[in-house]
Subunit: 235 residues, 4 copies
């Protein structure tokens, strides 16, 4: 029984399903002050900074970014709590036989939490703790996968057999957002000391967020600068 | 005091702020059944028809259409009741001096309603009714605009002076949606005999909807066909 | 032709359509940490303050407040830009003949704006400016109402005749929200020096917000204190 | 190592966090036609049937129902795809040690699917298939729970140790909706032959839906009758 172990969690921008730009955000904002004559001209960075600072959020909704996310189920669960301005399609365990790729934390993942709920700090595990973590993950994953396979072979429906699969199983989903809903996500799912409001995301979802932040910075550079310069507060 | 009269109500697609396609909708749907291997291949029209018919709505959210709408305030009021999957930026009467363009129903607009609330039928007005309608609109519009202008000249704030302006004044707004939220809009704001569910939109917002429907049909042709073939029910 | 002038803008809580409490917010939050054993016990104010400060917003959604708002159309227009967590039903100019109640700013309303768009300051008008404002409002309102009435009498449909009615006309709407969406509204529609983020609402919508804030403070006192103690930032 | 097996999936109405009624829905609808004079009088069932049939959905949003749902993780995953008009708080595997209650399909659950994706039919399993299903579930659940426990004992953080726990583990969440968002849920998550649109929910989430439908029918009886009489189409 071969299963694959994976520690890399990724969000990949779909470059063919992208809309909007800093200029479009400005154009939308200028409809407020110029009406239908609003065009893509004028100084953009000052306007965007003003919108961000004074929380005029609506102009930041007129754009689209889509990502293919590959992450364990427990990350998908946290991700899909984001409702406004987010759309999802995820691999279905009812419609298809799933594939045996499982999440194993790599050696750099701090294993031990200190502090209290809501504000944990994480520190490295001992060599032994890493060993236990890896061993228990592998063993549990293999057992679960074997049970899943045996039930499928016995003719049991996929939607029932999958009960035994762990939340560390990788899933894929296609997620679409706009710059505003993305900033809201980033403000909660990244941990950045300079942020006005502290956040305590689990590191696995933070990896997804970091990939998305990079794509955001590339395609909406002035918006991204204004976001970071204003304390990473979603307008 | 010159004011402009206008009977044309329009939604103009912004061709530079567009994302998605029938193929992308299929790709998003295939993530459910194929996982991250989903690519833009395979027969699209059958898949789209299946999604529409069985109301799998989420794949239709991964696209963007943006429109500049020019319409009277009373149309904007109805329009912005649409919340989910819609983003707006509208000309502000607080931030700018408004421009004197006012809606006058043209000679083809039926003036007289029959039947009961919720299911009105409209029939043509008499020649005299059209004359009265035009005359009263013009007179009221001129009076309101003159009052607005005199208050502005006296130094009264724009946000107060605009109190007197009528809901027939044209406004401009930039509206962004996705194919799913657009279909929901169309199902409520167009009156088509073949639709599974009847709708009774005011004709002025129906004009906006017709422009948007045309852009939708052009950029998402298979989705559009499936929508009309399945009774114009939003999935 | 008798029309009524009104300067009072109000939101009235519907005491018979209310759900939730500080205790329920705590109970919802404790499901996260205690599971189905969560009950309405334990120290509430500390928990609520923690949720507010660290922006755990979701527990604040499990409650309901409904208001009957009576305000000019231009206030309703700003209000209904709030989409997430808000539901509305408003008096329809298509379905009923409207009633002639119009907004006139009272003597305390500052009439003159200074500064630039987005950050206006308002100062009192002169005696003459108040006179002009009142006169122009009355004249424009009367003219509009007369035109509306004459069109109705001539048999023109309500939805057409209302084109001429001004945005200063009073409308009524029933608005339902939850504590979280209400805090978001308040953070944008009130101007309070102690707020972390400045807002510049028009004074007319701020009156509505103040009524709602009072009802909020009464029915969710600990949540309200945490909201104000944490800079009036919506979690 | 003791783990609990459970086949019952439930949604329990919170009777202390309830708002709205058929009468309130009517009152909200009448604001459209009567303005602020709308009161709780008049014939309700005809009005509600009209609203439902002609898809005037907004009046159905002015109420609240909250449920404590106890269901396996895979059900929670499907449930939380519902975004508009839904609020959630779920037991966190980051903040607390989870409890060993696992889902096992009972003997009445059909195990074998026939047909194609999207329109499966389910038929009973053989005695042997039930035996395999039960055995594999138990074995996999025990192994996973043991691994989880050993990692916790070794000092590994809860949020990492839980990777190995299966989607058949029970979770608890508190879910709040309004009559409209509930009807949308029911139309997709129940399978009723008389429905205008067919749905193919997994039976486990249908159990949750059935509990919620019962509570809905009790507290909003006229709305519920109109919903079923109009083909279970969410307005």
């Amino acid at each position: 029984m071969t299963i694959a172990q994976r520690s890399e969690i990724t969000a990949t921008l779909d470059p063919d399903n992208l809309a909007g730009s800093d200029a479009k955000i400005c154009q939308a904002a200028r409809v407020s002050t110029l009406g239908s004559a609003a065009a893509e001209s004028g100084e953009a960075s000052g306007l965007i900074n003003y919108l961000m600072r004074d929380r005029h959020g609506s102009p930041f909704e007129h754009g689209q970014l889509s990502f293919l996310v590959e992450a364990p189920i427990f990350v998908a669960r946290e991700f899909m709590r984001h409702r406004a301005g987010w759309s999802y399609n995820e691999t279905s365990g009812r419609y298809r036989e799933l594939v045996p790729v499982f999440y194993i934390p790599d050696r750099k993942r701090p294993l031990v939490q200190e502090g209290k709920p809501g504000a944990y700090t994480f520190v490295d595990g001992t060599h032994e703790q890493y060993g236990i973590t890896r061993w228990e993950h592998e063993q549990a994953y293999r057992t679960a996968w074997s049970s899943y396979q045996r039930m499928l072979k016995a003719g049991v429906a996929k939607e029932i057999a999958r009960d035994v699969l762990p939340v560390g199983l990788f899933t894929s989903f296609y997620a679409t957002c706009n710059p505003r809903s993305l900033m809201h996500f980033l403000s909660l799912r990244t941990r950045v000391p300079s942020a006005t409001f502290p956040s305590f995301p689990q590191q696995e979802i933070e990896k997804v967020a970091q990939d998305m932040e990079e794509a955001f910075a590339e395609h909406f550079p002035l918006t991204y600068i204004a976001y970071t310069n204003n304390g990473r507060v979603c307008p």
